[in-house]
């Protein structure tokens, strides 16, 4: 009697599993059945009653566990959402500041020019100086907007394709850099990437290697060893305490050099979306090495 009950209950419970969508409950199911069998002597019940008892026990168990799991999942989702919202708020605040600051600065300078003009204190020299300042501020604002749009762009529509040969595109791109520097490119070969996004990663890393470099002979190397793509430069280097900070958006370490602070943020975001990791090694005064771990 009990054997038949097990077989029929097994069929019913498979159906239950399908409806509850928890296939991982097969083991707990067997546990429930065994425990129930320990405490209830089914030999005195009819098949129908045995089936009812088994199914009811299982359904109750599945119902309670599914509620608990849903609750847990819900809490985890809420936590993830709160964290995402916090990150987004911080990003929005930084973005607002970095956009507002240059625009406000340009507006303030033009106001001063206007006041000086009314008071008859505006001469050509001061006018040229102030216009230059306002122009610089607005350029920074425009660059920031472009970079923000880029940053947003690399979150949508990333088209990762298998077996993409990036050599031709990358080597062509690297030809466009300034002439008084030396960029050595060795074959990276085949990757599973969104080609344009990966190009952007290499571009930003090379650009930083040249921008934050006060050497007479600037050198950047791009190459691959096994599952690691490396961009190495002889630039100014970065202190280790800033490694975590510089990959976040709107973080700059240098007020003398132009930049929006989004370059490495974009690199970090693209690599994350590809499932790659970024490792930074650097020594002040000697240079930096950015390792893209493909696995």
């Amino acid at each position: 009697m009990l054997n038949i009950n097990f077989k029929i209950s097994g069929a019913i419970n498979s159906f239950s599993l399908f409806t509850v969508k928890y296939q991982s409950y097969i083991l707990p199911l067997l546990l429930v059945v065994k425990l129930t069998a320990l405490f209830i002597d089914f030999s005195c019940f009819s098949t129908r009653v045995s089936l009812i008892i088994f199914s009811t026990t299982y359904a109750a168990f599945a119902f309670i566990m599914s509620n608990k799991l849903n609750e847990k999942k819900s809490k985890e989702n809420m936590l993830t959402l709160k964290q995402s919202n916090r990150i987004l708020e911080t990003l929005m605040y930084s973005m607002a500041h970095d956009l507002k600051s240059p625009v406000r600065s340009a507006a303030g300078i033009l106001n001063i020019m206007n006041e000086d003009l009314k008071e008859g204190e505006l001469n050509q020299s001061s006018m040229c100086y102030m216009l230059g300042l306002a122009d610089n501020s607005l350029k920074i604002g425009m660059e920031t907007i472009d970079e923000v749009l880029d940053y947003a762009k690399y979150g949508q529509n990333l088209q990762i394709k298998n077996k993409v040969n990036v050599d031709k595109d990358l080597s062509n791109m690297l030809l466009n850099f300034e002439e008084n520097c030396f960029i050595r490119y060795n074959s990276i070969g085949i990757l599973s990437v969104d080609k344009n996004a990966f190009k952007r990663v290499i571009y930003n890393l090379v650009d930083n290697g040249l921008k934050y470099n006060s050497k007479n002979k600037k050198l950047v190397e791009v190459y691959r060893t096994g599952d690691t793509v490396i961009v190495e430069d002889n630039g100014n280097g970065i202190e280790e305490k800033y490694f975590e900070r510089i990959v976040k958006p709107f973080q700059r370490l240098d007020s003398d050099t132009e930049g929006t602070g989004l370059g490495l943020g974009i690199v970090s975001k693209i690599l994350e979306l590809h499932g790659f990791k970024l490792r930074i090694k650097s020594e002040l005064g000697k240079g930096s090495r950015f390792e893209i771990l493909l696995r």
Partner: protein, 146 residues
């Protein structure tokens, strides 16, 4: 006696605006010093004779808040008055500024006329030191209410 004022801001345009407004308030050009980042600012304060620091909160590498804490930690004598400047009102920045030991906090004004109101209050401090404590309290209260 007019003390020295140090403007610490990574944005050259902002430094220019603040400097021009200080000059219009009657501060002598020679008394106004500038620093384009926190480290430069600290070095100038370390060399002495800075009475008021107008300090931008958001700067690369060494932020305004970090510089504020360094200045208070190193207990310069006499300690400079420090007014934190920010582009937009943020309760966290205000709270951090107060905790860090700032004497004032202000959202950067859009118009120089607004800047004049704020800096006029500070001007009272370093021109007339007899009423120092009272004026400092009223400036801080004024800035808090902005």
């Amino acid at each position: 006696m007019m003390g020295k004022v140090l403007i610490v801001d990574d944005n050259e345009g902002e430094r220019f605006i603040i400097k021009r407004t200080l000059i219009k308030l009657g501060v002598e050009v020679e008394s106004i010093l500038e620093a384009k980042n926190g480290e430069e600012g600290y070095d100038i304060i370390d060399n002495g004779k800075i009475e008021v620091v107008l300090l931008d909160i958001n700067m690369p590498k060494l932020s305004g808040l970090e510089l504020l804490r360094m200045i208070r930690r190193d207990k310069f004598s006499p300690p400079p008055y420090i007014v934190m400047l920010t582009t937009s009102q943020n309760d966290d920045d205000l709270g951090s500024s107060i905790e860090g030991g700032a004497d004032g906090f202000s959202v950067k004004p859009n118009a120089p006329s607004k800047m004049k109101e704020i800096l006029s209050a500070i001007k009272i401090i370093f021109i007339d030191k007899q009423h120092l404590t009272e004026e400092l309290c009223s400036v801080f209260q004024y800035l808090k209410n902005i």
